[in-house]
C-alpha cells in the first residue's frame, strides 16, 4: 500500500480547531465525534452496569430484600435498553466514525454535520429515559421487549416518554447508518475496490443497511404502542379487533436483525485483530464477506424463533426452526475462518489478541446455545428462562462487548499516541475472563433447572447458584474499573506509539502517525 507522508505534513498545517466546549458541541470532525460516541458508550455501560448490580443484589438471596418488584422490573427493562441502545450500538458507531474514514483513505465522514447531530441527540434520548425512573409511577417496567398489552393498557404514564426516547435513539441510529453507507460508497480512495476493503468496513456497511431497514420498524411499533395507549387505537388489543401477538411479530422483525447489528461489527473487529497478532493474512476473506451478507439476509427470516410459545401454526413454527438452524452455518464459517487464520501463524498475545481469542471461544459457546434454542421442542423448555439469559449474554457481553474492548486496546495507541499499560491490560483481561464466566455460565444450569427470567425472587433450589452468579457479577463490574484506569492512563501519557503500532498490522490506518492527526487523508492515498 502507498505511503502518505506528504499528505500528513500538509494536514498538520491545518490542524486548528476551536477549543473548549465549543469544539465538542460544534465539531464535524469524525475523530472528535468518534471519541464522543465512545466516551458516551462507556458512561452508559457503567450506568447500565449499575442497574445490573441492583438486579444481582436483589437476586443474591431468595426473598425480597432491597427493591420492590416494580422497581426490579424497571431495572431489568432500563438495563436492557441502555446496554443495547446506549452502550453497544453507540460504541460501534464511535469505532465506525474513528476508523472507517481512516481505513478507506477518506478525509472524513461524508455527511459531517449530520454526524454531529446524530451524536448530540443521543444524550437527550437517554436523559429522558433515565428521568422517567424518578417520576411518579417510575420508568418503563415492561422489559426491553415491551410486549403489548403490558406496555399499552397496563403500563404507567411515563410510557409516552419511553416512546419519545426510543424514537430519538432510532433517528440517531438511522442518521449514523446513512453516513456510514454514503461514506463507504462514495469516499473510498482510488484503488480501494470493494474486495480490498477491510472486513470492519464490510461488516459495518452491511450493518448500516440492516439499521436502515429495521429502525423504522422499531419506530413503527413504538408509535403503535403510543397510539394504542393514548389515542384509542387497537393494533394490539383483541377487544378492538387487534392482536397482541402482532406486536411480537413486528418487534422481532426489528429485534432479530438488531441482534446481528450488535455482532456484525464485532466480527469485523476480530477479523482485523486476529491476522495482526497471528502475522498471517485473514483466511477466506471472500467467504467472510459472503458469510456476513448471508447472515444479514437470513436475519430477516428468523424473527419468530423468539415466539415459539405464542402458539403459531405448526408450519410457521417449522419454517422458523429451519431458518434459525440455517443461520448457524454462516456463523460457524466465520469461526472456522478465524481458527484457520491462527493456524500456523506466529502468534503473540497482547491484550487486544487476548480479548479477540476470548471472543472467539465465548461467542462460539453462545452460538452453540443458540443452536440448542433453535430446536423448537427443546426451546419450549428453555424459553424465557435463565438459559436464554445465558445465551444472549455470551453473545453480547463476552461477544459484542469483548470485541469493543479488544478494539479499544487495539486502536488506543493510534488514538492517543501512547501505548497502554500492558500489565494492567492483562490484569483487566484475566479478571474479566474469569468473572464473566462465573457470572454467565451457571445461568445455563439455573435455566435448565427451571428458573424463569425477569423475576425478583425465586424458589429455594436456585439459591446457591444465584449467590454464585451475583458474586461473579460484582467481580465483573469491579474488573471494568481497571479498564477505565487503563484508558485514563493511556490518554495521559506512556510509551510513544509508532505509526504501525503492532508488528503485524496492515492497512491505511497504520500508515498515518500516532496519534492520528486531526485531519487525515486530505489527499487520497493511492491503493495498488
Amino acid at each position: 500500500m502507498s505511503t502518505v507522508t506528504t499528505a500528513d505534513h500538509h494536514d498538520e498545517h491545518h490542524d486548528h480547531k476551536p477549543t473548549g466546549i465549543k469544539r465538542w458541541l460544534f465539531t464535524t470532525n469524525h475523530k472528535d465525534i468518534g471519541s464522543m460516541y465512545l466516551i458516551f458508550a462507556l458512561v452508559m455501560f457503567f450506568i447500565g452496569g449499575a442497574m445490573a448490580m441492583v438486579i444481582r443484589l436483589e437476586l443474591f438471596q431468595p426473598g425480597l430484600q432491597f427493591v420492590d418488584p416494580q422497581f426490579f422490573n424497571q431495572m431489568t427493562t432500563v438495563h436492557g435498553l441502555i446496554m443495547v441502545f446506549g452502550a453497544v450500538m453507540p460504541a460501534f458507531t464511535g469505532l465506525a466514525n474513528w476508523m472507517i474514514p481512516m481505513m478507506i483513505g477518506a478525509p472524513d465522514m461524508a455527511l459531517p454535520r449530520m454526524n454531529n447531530w446524530s451524536f448530540w441527540i443521543l444524550p437527550f434520548a437517554f436523559l429522558i429515559l433515565l428521568i422517567t425512573l424518578f417520576m411518579p409511577g417510575g420508568g418503563p417496567d415492561f422489559g426491553w421487549t415491551f410486549y403489548a398489552p403490558l406496555s399499552t393498557t397496563y403500563s404507567n404514564d411515563t410510557t409516552a416518554l419511553f416512546v419519545f426516547s426510543v424514537h430519538i435513539m432510532g433517528i440517531s441510529s438511522i442518521m449514523g447508518a446513512i453516513n456510514v453507507i454514503v461514506t463507504i460508497v462514495n469516499m473510498r480512495a482510488p484503488g480501494m475496490t470493494w474486495m480490498k476493503m477491510p472486513l470492519f468496513v464490510w461488516t459495518w456497511l452491511i450493518t448500516a443497511f440492516l439499521l436502515i431497514m429495521v429502525m423504522p420498524v422499531l419506530a413503527g411499533v413504538v408509535t403503535m404502542v403510543l397510539t394504542d395507549k393514548y389515542f384509542a387505537t387497537s393494533f394490539f388489543d383483541a377487544a378492538g379487533g387487534g392482536d397482541p401477538v402482532l406486536f411480537q411479530h413486528i418487534f422481532w422483525f426489528f429485534g432479530h436483525p438488531e441482534v446481528y447489528i450488535m455482532i456484525l461489527p464485532a466480527f469485523g473487529i476480530v477479523s482485523a485483530i486476529v491476522p495482526t497478532f497471528a502475522r498471517k493474512k485473514l483466511f477466506g476473506y471472500a467467504s467472510m464477506v459472503y458469510a456476513t451478507a448471508s447472515i444479514a439476509i437470513l436475519s430477516f427470516l428468523v424473527w419468530a424463533h423468539h415466539m415459539f410459545t405464542t402458539g403459531m401454526p405448526v408450519f410457521a413454527t417449522l419454517f422458523f426452526m429451519y431458518t434459525t438452524m440455517l443461520i448457524a452455518v454462516p456463523t460457524g464459517v466465520k469461526v472456522f475462518n478465524w481458527v484457520a487464520t491462527m493456524w500456523r501463524g506466529a502468534m503473540t498475545f497482547e491484550v487486544p489478541m487476548m480479548f479477540a481469542l476470548a471472543f472467539i471461544v465465548l461467542f462460539t459457546i453462545g452460538g452453540l446455545s443458540g443452536v440448542m434454542l433453535a430446536i423448537t421442542p427443546a426451546d419450549f423448555q428453555y424459553h424465557d428462562t435463565y438459559f436464554v439469559v445465558a445465551h444472549f449474554h455470551y453473545v453480547l457481553v463476552s461477544g459484542a462487548v469483548f470485541s469493543i474492548v479488544a478494539a479499544a486496546y487495539y486502536w488506543l495507541p493510534k488514538w492517543t499516541g501512547h501505548m497502554y499499560d500492558e500489565k494492567l491490560g492483562q490484569l483487566h483481561f484475566w479478571c474479566s475472563l474469569i468473572s464473566v464466566n462465573l457470572l454467565f455460565f451457571p445461568m445455563h444450569f439455573v435455566g435448565l433447572a427451571g428458573m424463569p427470567r425477569r423475576i425478583p425472587d425465586y424458589a429455594l433450589q436456585f439459591a446457591d447458584f444465584n449467590a454464585f452468579i451475583s458474586v461473579g457479577g460484582f467481580l465483573f463490574g469491579l474488573s471494568q474499573l481497571i479498564f477505565v484506569w487503563v484508558i485514563i492512563k493511556c490518554a495521559r501519557g506512556g510509551e510513544k506509539a509508532t505509526a504501525q503500532v503492532w508488528e503485524g498490522a496492515e492497512g491505511l490506518e497504520w500508515e498515518v502517525p500516532s496519534p492520528a492527526p486531526y485531519h487525515t487523508f486530505g489527499t487520497p492515498p493511492q491503493i495498488k
Binding site: 502475522r279 487464520t341 427443546a378
Partner: protein, 381 residues
C-alpha cells in the same frame, strides 16, 4: 509481551462438561413424566452432545494452534489464506448435522401440537397474578393463587420447602388420560409452564391456545408463569396434582359438591345479616391474599399505579362505587374484577373491611344482598 499458559482454555471446557455429570440432579433439564417430555429431554441431550463435539473440535484446534504457532517458539508464519475446498467442507458438514437434528425435532414438534382425541379439557385463564382453571366436562372452576405467606417473602418468617411454588388450590388432572388445555388471558400475556410436562404456552388475551399432556406418574408437579406480566410476575406459580383416574373422579365429584354447596350457601347468605367483627375477620384474610400485593397491607398502596385505599374517597364515601369497582374491576388498569374470583361472602366482607380498616372507620356494614343486587342488576355472574 504477555506470557501465556496452556491451561487457559480448560476453564470453559470444564464448565461445559458440567451438565453431563449433573443429569438427574437439578442442574439439567428434567426428563419429566410424560412421553413427550422424555422425547424433548432426549432432543436436548442430543443437541447438547453435538454442541460439545463441535466445541471440542473448534476449541481443540485453537488450543493446539495457541500452543504451537506462537512467535515465542520462533515459528515463521505460513502464507496460505484461502481454500474453496475447505470452505465448502465446513459449510456442508454443519448443514448435514443440522438436517440430522431437524428430523427428530420435527417429529416431536408435530406430536406436541396434536391435541385431537382428548379425554378431559381444562380452560386455563391467566390474569394478574393468578390462574383460573375451568373444567369444561365438569361443573368445576376455581382460581389458583400463590399460597406462600408474605412474611416468608419479606424474610419475617423462615422460608418453607416449596417457597413460591405453592398455591391454595392446585390444578388436578387424571393420569393416563389425554388432557387438553385451552389457554387464554384476562389481561396481559402470561405463559403457563410445567417443566415436567414440557408444556410452555402463552396465554394471549382475546385468543385461545392449545396444548395437551398425558401424565404417566401420579404426583405433584410445579411450574411458574414465564412471560413477564407485571409486578407480581414472579409470584404466580402453578401446581398440578396428577391422580389415578379413579381418584380423579372422586376428587371431581367432591369438588362439584363443594362448589354447589358454596352456591347454596350464597343463597342462604342473602337473607342473613353478618356483623362487623365477623366481616372484618374474613375481610382481612381475603384482603391479604388478594389485594395486599398492590394496595399494600397497610392500605397505602403504591401510587400512582396502585392507589391508597386508606382515606380514599371511594372507600370512605362512595359505597355504590366501591361495590362496582370490586365487582367489575377498573378496565384498563391492573384492578381486576373479583366477581368470579371470590365467593359472595368473601366479596362482601372485603368491601366492609376496606371501609373500616386502617382508620377508615366508616362503620358501614355492607351485606351480601346489596352486592348481589348490584351483580344481578347488571346481569353479571
Amino acid at each position: 509481551m504477555a506470557k501465556t499458559r496452556g491451561w487457559r482454555w480448560s476453564l470453559p471446557a470444564l464448565l461445559l462438561a458440567g451438565p453431563a455429570c449433573a443429569s438427574g440432579s437439578n442442574l439439567n433439564m428434567t426428563p419429566g413424566v410424560t412421553d413427550i417430555s422424555l422425547q424433548v429431554y432426549n432432543l436436548h441431550m442430543t443437541i447438547f452432545w453435538i454442541c460439545c463435539a463441535i466445541g471440542l473440535v473448534v476449541f481443540g484446534a485453537m488450543f493446539v494452534s495457541i500452543l504451537l504457532h506462537r512467535k515465542s517458539r520462533g515459528v515463521e508464519p505460513a502464507t496460505f489464506h484461502e481454500s474453496t475446498k475447505v470452505e465448502i467442507i465446513w459449510t456442508a458438514i454443519p448443514v448435514l448435522i443440522l438436517i440430522v437434528m431437524a428430523i427428530p425435532a420435527t417429529r416431536v414438534l408435530i406430536a406436541m401440537e396434536d391435541t385431537s382425541d382428548s379425554d378431559v379439557t381444562v380452560l386455563i385463564t391467566g390474569s394478574q397474578w393468578r390462574w383460573h382453571y375451568e373444567y369444561l366436562d365438569y361443573d368445576i372452576n376455581y382460581f389458583s393463587i400463590l399460597a406462600t405467606p408474605r412474611g416468608q417473602i419479606e424474610g419475617r418468617l423462615p422460608k418453607g420447602e416449596n417457597y413460591l411454588l405453592e398455591v391454595d388450590r392446585p390444578l388436578v388432572i387424571p393420569t393416563d388420560k389425554k388432557v387438553r388445555f385451552l389457554m387464554t388471558s384476562d389481561d396481559v400475556i402470561h405463559s403457563w409452564w410445567v417443566p415436567d410436562f414440557a408444556i410452555k404456552k402463552d396465554t394471549n388475551p382475546g385468543f385461545i391456545n392449545e396444548a395437551w399432556t398425558q401424565v404417566n406418574e401420579p404426583g405433584i408437579y410445579r411450574g411458574q408463569c414465564t412471560e413477564l406480566c407485571g409486578m407480581d410476575h414472579g409470584f404466580m406459580p402453578i401446581v398440578v396434582i396428577a391422580k389415578e383416574p379413579a381418584d380423579f373422579e372422586i376428587w371431581a365429584k367432591a369438588e362439584e359438591a363443594r362448589i354447589a354447596e358454596i352456591r347454596e350457601e350464597e343463597q342462604r347468605l342473602l337473607a342473613l345479616q353478618m356483623n362487623l367483627d365477623e366481616q372484618m375477620e374474613l375481610g382481612e384474610r381475603v384482603y391479604m391474599a388478594h389485594c395486599a400485593a398492590c394496595h399494600q397491607p397497610n392500605g397505602e398502596g403504591l401510587p400512582p399505579m396502585f392507589p391508597a385505599l386508606k382515606g380514599n374517597q371511594v372507600t370512605m364515601e362512595d359505597r355504590a362505587e366501591h361495590i362496582k369497582v370490586m365487582v367489575d374491576g377498573r378496565p384498563g388498569t391492573s384492578m381486576a374484577s373479583f366477581a368470579r374470583q371470590l365467593s359472595l361472602r368473601e366479596l362482601t366482607s372485603v368491601i366492609t373491611y376496606g371501609r373500616n380498616a386502617w382508620g377508615n372507620d366508616t362503620g358501614d356494614v355492607v351485606q351480601a344482598a346489596e352486592v348481589y343486587e348490584y351483580m344481578q342488576g347488571k346481569g353479571s355472574n
